[in-house]
Symmetry: C2
Subunit: 206 residues, 2 copies
């Protein structure tokens, strides 16, 4: 069975789109997905940015919000909302995700983190949201039937902290410069939710 690596930062709105559909598409393509959370911050910093390109370039940011609104509507996802602040600080959420990679619940957890950030509340307001807050993250772990305390403790270990640094360095070495990105077993890189179908086809054929 072919494999495809799914590289994402938990603060990335376009990675949210891929997270919500990669499992079904991969099953149809008979491809196994490896979820690889990492931090985009160090890569953006090496490009001279101290925040998301959607903040650095306001016209691009305004467009992104409209693009996301249209895509969420077309895919029957709840109305899109941008968290405040955007982007969220995803360091702690990513460390917990790495625990999830080892324990087998990374997909369910990542989707919960994404939905909390990018889906409008029923009142229609932007989700007041702070995924750097451990209480918020504990609540998300509980929402997928996990006991948060031992997971959060493990996520703060040196072992996990170093694993996240290695993961983020590996992303940069693979040529990754944005999220989501997809890497096949042959090292072929695809960038963006728009390339998910192409990446799966390539993984299946090679």
């Amino acid at each position: 069975m072919s494999k495809l690596e799914f590289w994402y930062d938990l603060a990335s709105n376009y990675a949210y789109l891929s997270a919500m559909r990669i499992e079904d598409l991969a099953a149809d393509a008979d491809v196994e997905v490896e979820w690889r959370p990492f931090l985009l911050g160090p890569i953006f910093a090496s490009q001279g940015w101290d925040t998301s390109p959607f903040n650095v370039y306001p016209a691009k940011g305004r467009y992104m919000q409209r693009d996301m609104a249209r895509l969420c509507e077309a895919r029957a996802l709840p109305p899109f909302a941008l968290p405040d602040p955007f982007p969220q600080n995803s360091l702690r959420a990513a460390r917990i995700a790495l625990v999830g990679c080892r324990q087998g619940w990374v997909a369910a957890y990542s989707k919960a983190v994404f939905c909390r950030q990018f889906q409008a509340r029923p009142q229609g307001a932007n989700p007041a949201c702070d995924i750097s807050n451990l209480d918020v993250l504990a609540g998300l772990l509980r929402s997928i039937d996990l006991a948060p305390e031992p997971i959060i403790e493990l996520s703060q270990s040196d072992d996990i902290k170093q694993a996240l640094r290695r993961q983020s360095a590996a992303a940069q070495e693979a040529g990754i410069f944005g999220a989501p990105s997809f890497v096949t077993e042959t090292g072929e890189l695809f960038w963006g939710d728009d390339r998910l179908e192409n990446a799966l086809q390539f993984a299946q054929a090679n």
Copy 2:
């Protein structure tokens, strides 16, 4: 019949992809396309860039070349090649394109300019190419059965120079930050060759 504006810089490789397919797709969707050549340079400059983002961010540039190669293969276009230098200076080519907008041959001309820049020569070498050279542009006009001399003379008139400045300013006012971009009659903006189908659907439905 619905209309869709196709905004492009003649030096943009992703705009090349759209130019090669927009006529067929628009005919299928019963949408009329208005070709709107403009200059991205002033917009990039306002974002602090003095060249293409594919040069400013090398990882993105390397990825773009692989992405283009894959897309050209999938669409049965000739092998992709990057012109040297990249991006080309498209000022003179754009002025001629504006003459083409008035005289009705802008689509054929734009495709000729794009193909000359982005299709590998039979020898497989990168196309040694300079679309800022009037002899090269004259040759491209001849290749679509136009007499180049009066066109080139008109393209250097103040009228056309000012029209191009207005066109590029209008692009920025429409929120455009990259090419290709598509704008519907209701002002809906779509960015990137990946959104061409969405833009046509939107134009058709609204």
